[in-house]
């Protein structure tokens, strides 16, 4: 029956050349014996759909052939966890040019605004090359691991090791370095954007609407700048020494609380000095300013509630850190 021949031909395609004929002869013999036995039991020839069912039960040609092949993998189970770890690392490192490109873009927009030249440095192109660089890095890492899988170096990697050279115990409350890296990148972007665009005297343009802030903004500008610098410093220290200490947890809580106080204060500080739009008369503009400041003041209690909530989370984390530090110190002392 042609169906059987086609099936065997499909299996043969995936088999190693040297063994193809031998394996197919044996499989063919097994298949024909099974069919003959079934036909004897039924007292008639099997029809095509019955043969089809029988072949389906045996499995797809590639699956059948696969069982005769040696176990093959580009990267084996021993190296695979290391491979995944390196891929994550490469992804993180590939992100750096993209972040630099992003920051450069913000700076260039800031400079363009200030100087009025509209000059844009070519750093933005780095970000657009992120994908190419990332895929190329993944390909190189995969090739290196595939080669390593097939060399004696793999054996050395797993057999030559020293328990004394294992990494030291991690502190009780480790901070993932990736989190700190993301925080540093975000704070850098915020700092660059803030210094380039938010310095006093500040006029915010929303379409045709121009909103000028009072000179009091200058104090807020510098305060927010210092709080952001402080937070970035904590993140940098966390990146270098990735575990929470009481001092750092207190610093983070204080910075968050200071940020919260500033945030609330802004609503009460009557920061809007003037509003203008093309059809505005002086009376209308003054009325709009007064109304805007009143509404901002009404948001003030809600801002306090939000601030208290986030500061509460910070304090809770601080208490937990202090408690765990105490427990850890006691455990270390006992051991």
């Amino acid at each position: 029956m042609q169906l059987i021949e086609r099936y065997l031909q499909a299996v043969k395609f995936w088999l190693p050349k040297k063994q193809q004929d031998d394996i197919i002869a044996e499989l063919s013999e097994d298949l024909r014996t099974q069919i003959e036995e079934r036909e004897t039991a039924l007292g008639r020839k099997l029809n095509e759909s019955e043969v089809e069912t029988l072949l389906r039960q045996r499995g797809s040609p590639i699956m059948v052939a696969n069982r005769f092949l040696p176990q093959q993998s580009l990267i084996g189970p021993l190296l695979f966890p290391i491979y995944v770890f390196v891929l994550k690392l490469v992804t993180l490192v590939s992100l750096i040019p993209a972040v630099v490109g992003f920051i450069a873009g913000i700076i260039s927009r800031g400079l363009g605004h200030v100087v009025g030249t509209g000059w844009t440095p070519p750093f933005g192109a780095i970000a657009s090359h992120f994908w190419n660089g990332w895929f190329a890095s993944l390909a190189v890492v995969t090739i290196v691991f595939a080669v390593l899988e097939r060399t004696a170096a793999k054996k050395q990697l797993f057999e030559i090791w020293n328990p004394r050279k294992l990494p030291p115990l991690r502190p009780a409350h480790a901070i993932p370095r990736a989190n700190s890296a993301i925080e540093i990148a975000v704070y850098l972007c915020v700092l660059v954007w803030w210094t380039a665009n938010m310095a006093a005297p500040l006029t915010i343009r929303l379409g045709n609407l121009h909103l000028a802030l009072t000179p009091a903004w200058s104090a807020f500008y510098w305060a927010i700048l210092f709080i952001t610098l402080g937070s970035a410093t904590v993140s940098i220290v966390n990146f270098i020494r990735p575990w929470w200490t009481t001092q750092r947890a207190v610093a983070r809580v204080l910075l968050d609380a200071a940020g919260g106080v500033l945030f609330c204060w802004m609503f009460e500080a009557h920061l809007v000095a003037s509003l203008s739009w093309p059809s505005a008369t002086p009376d209308k503009a003054a009325y709009a300013v007064a109304q805007l400041n009143i509404w901002l003041a009404r948001i003030f209690p809600w801002a306090i509630a939000v601030t208290l909530f986030f500061t509460g989370i910070g304090v809770w984390r601080l208490i937990r850190t202090i408690r765990r530090s105490g427990a850890r110190a006691m455990h270390t002392a006992l051991v």
Binding site: E26, L27, E29, R32, T33, M63, R67
Partner: protein
């Protein structure tokens, strides 16, 4: 209960036993199809996709020998245990017996412990 873990563990447990069963069955020469039927009759169902690669692997390890021969007007490949295979089978059977004894002993001990816990709870 999710049947998948049971099925996976069952397959894992059977995998080692099948090698032993195949070696034991091939103390008498036979070809693949009859071997499969014999194992099935003894409650050890094995599909051809597992059996033939296993036979080849055991032959590569020199535990089996095979030859193509005409039987009932058709060419069939007959397998039988090699002298090395006979030795290995003996050792594996001892190992299997020892494992069986150990598991029975553990089960018996656990049974006693459970019994004691139940008594203590009364």
């Amino acid at each position: 209960m999710n049947p998948e873990p049971l099925e996976n563990l069952r397959l894992e447990l059977r995998r080692g036993c099948l090698v032993l069963a195949v070696l034991a069955a091939l103390r008498t020469e036979q070809y693949g199809y009859t071997l499969r039927k014999e194992l099935a009759e003894h409650g050890l169902e094995i599909d051809e996709g597992t059996l033939y690669p296993l036979l080849r692997r055991l032959e590569t390890q020199a535990l089996l020998v095979s030859e193509w021969r005409e039987h009932e007007k058709r060419n069939k490949r007959f397998y039988r245990l090699s002298p090395d295979g006979k030795q290995i089978l003996k050792q594996l059977l001892v190992e299997w017996q020892s494992l069986d004894d150990s598991i029975r002993a553990v089960m018996k001990e656990q049974g006693h412990a459970t019994h004691r816990t139940v008594l203590a709870g009364r």
